[in-house]
């Protein structure tokens, strides 16, 4: 797989190493130092840092501004963009803005419905869905054109990613949908966090049957559980999340003070199991509001230090 952009993530995958990404949740205010702090915690342990875009429809410091800040720190950001809040005009505009600061990796998402967030009375946009956004970015990059057909003098060079959820319904449609994203031009996938390894493997089998594992790099999501409460919540209250009872029992089986350590252990175990699955090309570690655990997880999973890839100095996702 040759590289098309300057994205460190793309280079890491092209070199055949397991890639590691993580994420930063921006604050609900205009304090940019929060982003700096979170990015600093994880920068030496990951290849790129995702910044969420008004996740769960809650207003936060925007992903684009956060990504610019991270880029200027010398760290590689992944711009997450949802189609819920912006029409095609605004999204293409933001993509140009991101590229003008050298941001070279994006995750294209549809986005949670606004009824989940703090502004449920807002109008939503959904001018495009995630697949149409992928098509748009690809067209801007490969043809140098906007959706209107307008030719840009300088085109954005962006490594295109999307999300996939092997655990949502209908299950039979999940792999055809992945195929559709690949047809639209997606190059890497970060999945919903994996607790049910067996179901994930089933999904991967179906993806491999269609040859998708050769066309797109799949990075399963990993989220450490802080305790039984969190596990129960995710099992029952989060749509499209599959938390098997064994995980809950495993957490229950240790004293309360040790539950978070057990959660980290489960995360590391999951990574080790998934390393053996053909087609898994890396991991996306989402330690929501627990970013300080990311270095430990990466180390214990044998993924530290990060390999050196051409054009970057080793050990951190600093860009040259």
């Amino acid at each position: 797989m040759s590289t098309t952009t300057s994205s460190r993530l793309e280079k890491m995958l092209a070199a055949g190493h397991f890639a590691v990404t993580s994420e930063c949740g921006p604050p609900r205010n205009c304090d940019g130092s929060v982003i700096e702090h979170k990015a600093n915690l994880i920068k030496d342990y990951v290849d790129a840092v995702n910044v969420t875009d008004n996740q769960t429809s809650v207003v936060r410091l925007c992903s684009l501004a956060s990504c610019i800040r991270i880029k200027q720190m010398g760290v590689e950001p992944v711009l997450q963009m949802v189609t819920r809040d912006r029409n095609r005009i605004a999204m293409q505009s933001d993509i140009l803005g991101a590229a003008s600061f050298g941001i070279n990796t994006m995750l294209c998402l549809t986005g949670d419905h606004q009824s989940f967030g703090d502004h449920p009375n807002a109008a939503n946009v959904f001018d495009l869905d995630s697949i149409q956004l992928i098509q748009t970015v690809k067209m801007m990059r490969d043809e140098g054109r906007l959706l209107s057909g307008f030719e840009m003098k300088v085109r954005p060079r962006i490594f295109i990613g999307a999300a996939a959820n092997p655990f949502a319904d209908p299950f039979e449609i999940r792999v055809p949908r992945l195929a559709k994203k690949v047809a639209a031009g997606v190059q890497f996938i970060q999945t919903q966090c994996v607790y049910n390894v067996e179901k994930f493997k089933t999904w991967m089998n179906l993806a491999r049957d269609k040859g998708l594992h050769e066309k797109v790099a799949i990075l399963p999501g990993i989220t450490p559980m802080k305790g039984v409460g969190m596990a129960r919540y995710m099992q029952t209250k989060v749509a499209g999340m599959d938390v098997p009872e064994e995980i809950i029992q495993r957490l229950k089986g240790v004293p309360k003070e040790s539950q978070s350590e057990e959660g980290v252990k489960i995360a590391v175990d999951t990574i080790e199991q998934l390393k053996e699955v053909e087609g898994v090309r890396g991991f996306h570690i989402m330690a929501i509001e627990w970013e300080e655990k990311v270095p430990e997880i990466v180390e214990r999973a044998g993924l530290y230090p990060r390999p050196v890839v051409n054009g970057n100095d080793g050990g951190s996702c600093a860009t040259s």
């Binding site: 819920r84 095609r88 549809t110 986005g111 949670d112 419905h113 009824s115 989940f116 939503n124 959904f126 001018d127 495009l128 869905d129 995630s130 697949i131 149409q132 098509q135 748009t136 959706l147 999300a163 996939a164 959820n165 949502a168 319904d169 209908p170 039979e172 449609i173 055809p176 949908r177 195929a179 559709k180 047809a183 639209a184 919903q192 749509a239 499209g240």
Partner: protein
């Protein structure tokens, strides 16, 4: 048909407070079918308002009528002889009818007695569901007869999203996932291959986004 729901009585009372000669005008069309503004509902609203005003101001007169429909001037014209006798109208027609009533009798305040909600169908007696968003460019041929614009909360054309769970939408367990329905129908019709091809962005200019719309059918114009 258009589905509407009666406004809360408190809101209607607040609107007409201060007027002395009020006409409650229903419509025999859509609002009769969804039991929001037909003759029956006109009667009940008029009786309720009379009970209220009898205690406040015996001078207030509440009259009742119902028109074949309120979205055609020829039916609104029927009221022209009587309209002088009123100082306010509460129309129980859909939003279109209420506006046409106001256009026809521009010197009378016309108040909405219903909230117009959506284009939909009768699911069972007393229950109606949304089916169409009037986007102006129907794609039902491609989606097994189920509309993703009206029935997917995110109006995705390449759904479902990751929040679909057991055939229900992430926003509410009582809302069907539109894309699950589309999938089921395409499976029944043997058209699941449609899922492999990305669908291009929709032209929203034919829908509300393009501005207020007008339809012209030249072959019937005089």
């Amino acid at each position: 048909m258009i589905k509407a729901k009666g406004k809360p009585l408190d809101d209607i009372i607040r609107m007409v407070e201060g007027y002395k000669k009020i006409l409650i005008a229903g419509c025999d069309g859509c609002v009769t079918v969804c039991e929001a503004g037909g003759r029956k509902e006109v009667e009940i609203l008029a009786a309720a308002l009379r009970l209220y005003f009898a205690q406040k101001d015996a001078e207030v007169k509440i009259d009742e009528t119902s028109l074949t429909r309120q979205c055609d001037m020829e039916y609104l014209d029927v009221l022209s002889d009587r309209m002088g006798g009123y100082d306010a109208v509460v129309s129980l027609a859909c939003g279109a009818g209420i506006q046409y009533m106001a256009e026809r009798y521009a010197d009378k305040p016309v108040f909405p007695g219903v909230d117009t909600c959506f284009i939909g169908v009768s699911l069972e007696r007393g229950v109606w569901g949304e089916r169409c968003q009037a986007c102006g460019a129907c794609i039902l041929a491609d989606t097994g007869g189920v509309c993703p614009v009206a029935r997917c909360s995110k109006r995705m054309l390449n759904g479902p999203c990751g929040g679909s769970s057991k055939g229900k939408c992430e926003i509410n367990p009582e809302v069907d996932c539109g894309w699950q329905l589309i999938y089921n129908r395409l499976k029944t019709l043997g058209q699941l291959d449609r899922f492999e091809c990305p669908v291009d962005p929709k032209n929203w200019a034919t829908s509300r986004d393009g501005g207020p719309r007008k339809l012209v059918k030249e072959d019937v114009r005089i």
